[in-house]
């Protein structure tokens, strides 16, 4: 279980009052609306799936995609920068492999948000909405799962449409106001050392001793019969088939879906390329993400913790002499492997890859050699399906403190990601009591320069 408590002590429940829905009078017409909404036409999807590599804690923009080699040393920091495949564009020195792919990437250097606290910042970045006490919003993955889940996804895969690999943030529930079946299914969220390196174990995927699939199907049928009987004469007929049991059964029944979790099917060369054996880095998560995307899972969050570097940013590069598993080199390797592997399998053009965290870090190094929270200017990266690669969008100022041009809010980012995935940002979803809510906030801009 990932604790919802972060370094600054704010907890999710401080601002969430789930629902907050005071309204009454849901009519049959309201109930019918979500289904009707499925007929809304969105933009042509440029990507079928999305892999979000979430750098939890807030990655430093200065050590990743927006180095300031000409700034004074207290801003520049202890690490250097390197040239990339894009002339005149430099990345942090650890991102060697990623730098070579820069002509395929779109880097945004002018992200800006007012929220410099983990829970609030995470809510804003992962949902596109600033947190409010009245309503918790769904993350991108939940929205996509909901939109895709209803009609066109049935029978495509038994894997949950919204998955998180290596854990999930404790800052948001993930599903927000959407139904529980949009909650991210977390694989490999165990504490470090609780699972063999490079493997994911999902418990209870195979029938208990003495049982088989027909027995499980009959059990599910008996439960459904009992539920039908007990709701006879109740005007609140909201219960259908128990969604937890239906989803669990579908997954158990699909051998092909379950094989996705078995990384031992991959050759050693692939393991090495991703850096799968590298402790708790994102390598194994990225490899599993590729296997899930191959099986048409719409949204996978690869969760990477440890980016809240209040002290010693140099440890991002190396924690001890000869260290190959530090945060930045591990990310570099996993990200480059994911992009090239997807590309070789002709999946990159239909997979949107996003790398982001909840904010950046203070441009001035603090007394502990670290950087504190800095939401005013930070960076993120997009590549793959529908993204116009080989560009840097926007810029921060000389010291990386504020956007110097083309400021991008998390709401804009949300509108852009949804557009790439074929969901109209203005499309309305409905809360449990029928209240309409836009997929991305009113006023959010689609960054058309980023679209291929």
């Amino acid at each position: 279980m990932i604790s919802a408590i972060r370094c600054d002590g704010v907890r999710r429940r401080d601002f969430v009052r789930v629902g907050g829905l005071s309204a009454l009078g849901l009519s049959l017409a309201d109930l019918a609306r979500p289904a009707a909404a499925a007929n809304q036409t969105g933009p042509e999807p440029r990507a079928k799936s999305c892999v979000l590599i979430w750098l939890d804690g807030g990655p430093s923009h200065l050590e990743t995609f927006d180095p300031k080699p000409d700034a004074p040393v207290e801003v520049r920091g202890p690490l250097g920068s390197i040239a990339t495949a894009l002339p005149g564009v430099r990345f942090g020195e650890c991102l060697e492999q990623t730098a070579r792919l820069a002509d395929r990437l779109a880097v945004v250097r002018s992200m800006t948000s007012p929220l410099g606290e983990h829970v609030f910042g995470t809510h804003y970045l992962m949902t596109g909405y600033r947190p409010t006490p009245a309503l918790e919003y769904p993350t991108f993955g939940a929205t996509l799962a909901h939109v895709r889940g209803s009609a066109d996804n049935v029978g495509r895969t038994a894997l949950p449409p919204h998955m998180a690999v290596g854990g999930f943030t404790g800052a948001v529930s993930g599903r927000g106001y959407l139904p529980t079946d949009t909650t991210p299914f977390v694989v490999g969220g165990e504490a470090a050392g609780k699972r063999p390196p490079g493997q994911f174990r999902v418990p209870d995927l195979d029938p208990y001793a003495g049982l088989d699939l027909p027995r499980l199907a009959r059990r599910k049928r008996i439960t459904a019969a009992l539920d039908r009987f007990s709701r006879a004469g109740d005007a609140d007929a909201a219960v259908g088939e128990n969604p937890d049991l239906r989803r669990a059964y579908d997954l158990i029944a699909s051998a092909a879906a379950k094989r996705a979790f078995d990384l031992t099917e991959e050759p050693a060369a692939i393991h090495n390329r991703y850096g799968v054996g590298n402790g708790n880095g994102p390598g194994a998560g990225c490899l599993l993400a590729r296997r899930l995307v191959e099986r048409e899972v719409p949204f996978v969050t690869v969760y990477s913790s440890g980016w809240d570097t209040h002290s010693n940013v140099a440890a991002l590069a190396s924690r001890y002499p000869g260290d190959g598993g530090a945060k930045l080199p591990a990310l570099d390797r996993a990200l480059a492997a994911l992009l090239t592997d997807l590309d070789e399998r002709q999946l990159l053009e239909e997979t949107l890859v996003v790398v982001a965290g909840e904010f950046g870090r203070t441009p001035r190094i603090n007394a502990a050699g670290g950087r504190d929270h800095w939401p005013n200017a930070f960076s993120m990266l997009m590549a793959g399906g529908g993204v116009s690669g080989g560009q840097v969008y926007g810029a921060s100022d000389r010291l990386g403190e504020f956007p110097a041009e083309d400021a991008v809010t998390p709401a804009d980012l949300a509108a852009t990601i949804f557009t790439l995935l074929g969901v109209d940002p203005a499309r309305e979803l409905h809360t449990a009591d029928g209240r309409p809510v836009r997929v991305a906030p009113d006023g959010a801009r689609v960054l058309t320069d980023l679209l291929a």
């Binding site: 279980m1 408590i5 907890r11 999710r12 429940r13 401080d14 969430v16 009052r17 907050g20 829905l21 005071s22 309204a23 009454l24 009078g25 849901l26 309503l135 949950p160 529930s173 079946d181 909650t183 299914f185 977390v186 999902v202 418990p203 209870d204 995927l205 195979d206 029938p207 208990y208 003495g210 049982l211 027995r215 009959r218 059990r219 599910k220 049928r221 008996i222 439960t223 019969a225 009992l226 539920d227 009987f229 007990s230 709701r231 109740d234 005007a235 609140d236 219960v239 128990n242 937890d244 049991l245 239906r246 989803r247 669990a248 059964y249 997954l251 158990i252 009591d433 209240r435 809510v437």
Partner: protein, 714 residues
């Protein structure tokens, strides 16, 4: 001449307070600050943020007038105000965006607010408080009004000089949920209105300087008012509940049958299913008073003590802090003893707050070990005992309520006087730093007096909490009792009482609390009152007209069983126990003193680990739980256990139909209906082979334990 005169008259009419009339002095605290609040300048997203904004920092919603005056009139070499040339004051230039302002224009140039600020500056921009704000009345407090019909809103401020004035113009009105309420203030800021867009109960938050109030709008369901005259009234609860149903035009579902009532009340009061023997006796009993008698029997039972010890332990966050957990064990046992002897909540709270001694041997001293440092203790005490999230006032005055930083740090200071190690000792010299002043905080009762130098903090706090005039403890606790029986608190979340989060039935909450206090803070008395109300006895089946209601008791809400109660219910149905950590075999989940005892079952069911308030435990992962129900040992290993209920019945030669009926009775406290019986008989008739019949019955039992009727209270 005439047009100008007309304009002056108009201005005076729109400003009944007269503060914008030339000749009447503009007061900083009571005229200027409300403008800043009304315009959003000192909100948390702008200059009211802890770090300010753009180098200009104001206290949140004007909670600290002296600091705000210094920021406006003294900082930045006084450039924010220029009495010689008022129009050159940054305060005016920025707010009207005559020069660049990150927040855009917030005041209309030459509008009423702008003119008022200019006059204040021209008069020297002084702060010589002529009066202070002591109260705010907002009308209506609560109004029932049809959908789409506008309700006029009005705010009156009271001052310490005995005067009162209409400050509607200087009050902001915001819908808590803008999608369902339309607030119209632009057309005439002095005469704002609010209209509900959907049926239901809605809240509009009124804010004047640092005061907040809620306006409740109750919009009835469209259609004729239902006839509620024949609906039963058992006690005062029903008067309040039926009044709300009448307001909202919600019909009431008919009363639940005896079997449904028995299951509901047994689960609610003892966290257990009724045994088949009790069910059969109860259903056959012709005594018209049998429900009251059953409630009394349940309240007197040891199962009640166990279950409510578990509930109190969740509230008080009882968990082991010592190796072996002797501390949690001692605390758990102490709570059970208090409940067994019928102690009132007041005496339990008083004993816990005053306790010192070895926490491994004595229960009560453990109270002070929750929360860690004194500020953490203040959060815990305010949430658990007052139902208030005082922690918001750690960094700034509470933005949605009256609590100040002085209240929070004052409470922390009064709780600091213990050293809370394995042995809890008095620590009279301990202090807490007040971040606002940089000085040690003065011990203080929340919203009340500072403690005198010699006063014992916890003792004074206990006196204050249990004094009959103090509403917090009783209201917060009866709300939890209500929630435990009915599934939803009158106030939700149960630890978030505040002026802007009113109860669904405010007068009922007050009356329940008063009744609780009048009866010696006796849990059993209040639980009995709730359990014997007609509202509690309503059917869980919704009518077409009330299906959307989840909080007004038009029908009884279906609520998932708490994790421990569900685990125990499964154990009772299967007749095979489950092990929790290293607790002795036979220990029930609700009996566990150690909330962290290893149990995958309780983890998957979403138990509260008690590190934080149990109000907000995350919903468990449904898919993971589903996988475990199908393929894990929790149900599977015990359905077929040789000593379990199913195998025992089979070994005794019981017929399959009888086995089905027996399990219905144990799990659902009823027999199968005729159509259910026919359904299962038909299913069984298709199976001739005895082994196959057995596996069908195994599958039936599994289905029973996962069906909605079993896993909820209803």
């Amino acid at each position: 001449m005439l047009p100008l005169l007309a304009l002056l008259i108009l201005a005076a009419a729109a400003d009944p307070a007269g503060a914008s009339e030339p000749g009447i002095a503009v007061d900083f605290d009571t005229d200027v600050l409300p403008i800043l609040t009304r315009s959003g300048c000192n909100a948390g997203a702008c200059h009211g943020a802890a770090a300010g904004r753009g180098g200009f920092s104001l206290s949140l919603y004007g909670g600290d007038p002296a600091a705000d005056y210094a920021a406006i009139a003294r900082e930045l070499k006084g450039r924010r105000v220029n009495p010689g040339r008022p129009n050159d004051s940054l305060l005016l230039l920025k707010s009207t965006e005559s020069i660049g302002h990150g927040g855009g224009p917030v005041l209309e140039f030459d509008g009423q607010a702008h003119r008022l600020l200019r006059r204040w500056i021209a008069a020297g921009a002084v702060r010589s408080p002529s009066r202070s704000l002591i109260g705010l009345t907002v009308t209506p407090e609560r109004r029932t009004v049809p959908v789409n019909q506008a309700t006029p809103l009005r705010a009156l401020a009271q001052y310490d000089d005995g005067t009162e004035r209409d400050v509607t113009r200087w009050t902001s009105f915001t819908a808590e949920d803008p999608a369902v309420v339309r607030v119209e203030a632009d057309a005439d800021p002095a005469a704002p209105t609010a209209a509900a867009l959907r049926p239901g109960r809605h809240v509009v938050v009124a804010r004047h300087r640092d005061r907040v109030h809620a306006v409740e709008l109750i919009a009835p369901r469209v259609g004729a008012a239902p006839d509620l005259s024949a609906v039963g009234r058992a006690n005062f609860i029903d008067d309040h509940v039926l009044a709300a149903l009448a307001d909202l035009h919600l019909p009431a579902s008919p009363p639940a049958g005896d079997a449904a009532f028995l299951r509901r009340v047994t689960l609610g009061l003892t966290g257990r299913l009724p045994t088949p023997a009790i069910a059969e006796t109860f259903l056959a009993d012709r005594d018209p008073d049998k429900r009251a008698k059953r409630v009394d029997a349940l309240l007197a039972s040891e199962a009640f003590v166990q279950y409510w010890t578990h509930q109190l332990a969740e509230l008080l966050r009882v968990r082991p802090r010592e190796p072996g957990g002797a501390d949690a064990q001692a605390y758990h046992e102490w709570l059970a003893d208090r409940l067994r002897e019928g102690a009132g909540l007041d005496s339990i709270v008083r004993a816990a707050l005053r306790a010192t001694g070895d926490a491994r041997e004595n229960g009560p001293p453990n109270f002070h070990r929750v929360g860690g440092d004194p500020r953490g203790r203040a959060e815990f005490v305010s949430e658990a005992l007052m139902g208030v999230r005082l922690r918001c006032a750690n960094c700034h005055n509470h933005p949605l309520d009256r609590w100040t930083q002085d209240d929070f740090h004052g409470l922390a200071a009064s709780l600091a006087r213990f050293k809370a190690g394995s042995v809890v000792r008095p620590d009279p010299g301990a202090e807490v730093l007040h971040p606002g002043t940089g000085e040690p905080a003065r011990p203080k009762l929340p919203g009340g007096a500072y403690l005198a130098a010699g006063d014992d903090g916890p003792e004074a706090l206990a006196d204050w909490l249990v004094s009959p005039e103090n509403p917090y403890l009783a209201e917060a606790f009866v709300n939890r009792l209500w929630k435990a029986l009915i599934g939803r608190g009158l106030v939700e979340p149960a630890d978030d009482f505040r002026a802007t989060n009113p109860a669904t039935h405010p007068a009922l909450l007050k009356e329940l609390a008063n009744d609780f206090v009048a009866h010696g803070y006796d849990l059993r008395h209040t639980l009995r009152t709730i359990a014997l109300s007609a509202a509690y006895a309503r059917s869980a089946a919704a009518l077409p007209g009330n299906a959307a209601d989840d909080r007004f008791l038009s029908h009884f809400p279906r609520t998932p069983l708490p994790p421990a109660a569900l685990a125990d219910a499964v154990t009772d149905v299967l007749g095979v126990g489950e092990r929790y950590g290293d607790a002795p075999p036979g220990t029930r989940a609700v009996e566990l003193a150690d909330a962290t005892a290893a149990s995958l079952t309780l983890d998957l069911l979403g138990r509260c680990g008690r590190e934080e308030s149990c109000e907000s435990t995350a919903t468990p992962d449904g898919l993971r739980k589903g996988l475990h129900l199908f393929n894990g040992p929790w149900l599977n290993a015990r359905i077929t256990a040789p000593n379990g209920r199913l195998r025992t019945l089979l070994a005794a030669g019981t017929s399959p139909e009888k086995i089905v009926e027996r399990f219905y009775l144990v799990a659902l406290t009823r027999k199968p209906t005729a159509s259910e019986a026919a359904h299962w008989t038909a299913e069984l008739a298709g199976i001739s082979d005895e082994a196959a019949r057995t596996t069908f019955l195994e599958d039936f039992v599994w289905g029973l334990l996962t069906c909605d009727e079993f896993v909820t209270n209803h």
